[in-house]
Symmetry: C2
Subunit: 119 residues, 2 copies
Amino acid sequence: MDFPEIERCGFLCVHEDTVKQVLAEMPGDETLYDLAELFKVFGDSTRIKILYALFEAELCVCDIAQLLGITQSAVSHQLRVLKSSRLVKARRDGKTVFYALADDHVRKIIAQGMDHVLE
Amino acid sequence: MDFPEIERCGFLCVHEDTVKQVLAEMPGDETLYDLAELFKVFGDSTRIKILYALFEAELCVCDIAQLLGITQSAVSHQLRVLKSSRLVKARRDGKTVFYALADDHVRKIIAQGMDHVLE
DNA sequence: CAAACATCTGAACAACTGCTCACATGTTAG
DNA sequence: CTAACATGTGAGCAGTTGTTCAGATGTTTG
């Protein structure tokens, strides 16, 4: 009585065993949520641009702002997101804070995505 | 008078040459936009779950709905997004439409992301 | 200490996103 | 043809997101 058509379809389309097997092999909900959250961070032009800018060199906040032509505040907000996802790391030098890519993971993920976009 | 502090910082933090070089090496705005759009597609729990479900087997719409415990309509909407990003492909068999991963790119991108999440 | 500077942060708002609902489309069986 | 079914789709709404603005924090210099 809940979803009659769905139950019916479950038997028509594939074996119920297949569905159960898929369920068994899927990572936990928390892991999948974290994964989506990670990709969400990459899913914004500004953040992608920031990450790409850091491909070449370590940069400070207002350099990035100047580079992308956006407010320093906006950059700071986004750097916070990137940092809390461990995609960039910060290094303070006096008044200036320099940001750099956290590790090569970031490059690899972006490179994979770029492959798909450019194919 | 526009952004005096930004220009000042540009000279303090790094050579202007560096900024220009970074700009020169960055992909075009359109490409970066497309890249962000791609990652945005991965940046949703429902879509990630659908993709992961398709890791194991080709599935029809209502199987996925049953698997994830969500409406068939919601699945259909998301499959449309996934299809227009060329992440999944559809195959019609009578009344049923089977979906599968478009290519191994999808697996690679997700695998890279998973590495970062699980590290 | 105060002033200047680089960065950070909270609030507010406009834009976007994903879901639900109702219905449309397309396919098969009778 | 009609009925039943699997899927697709448009409108509307609640929740989320990225930016701007104003001001706070932290650092160096005098």
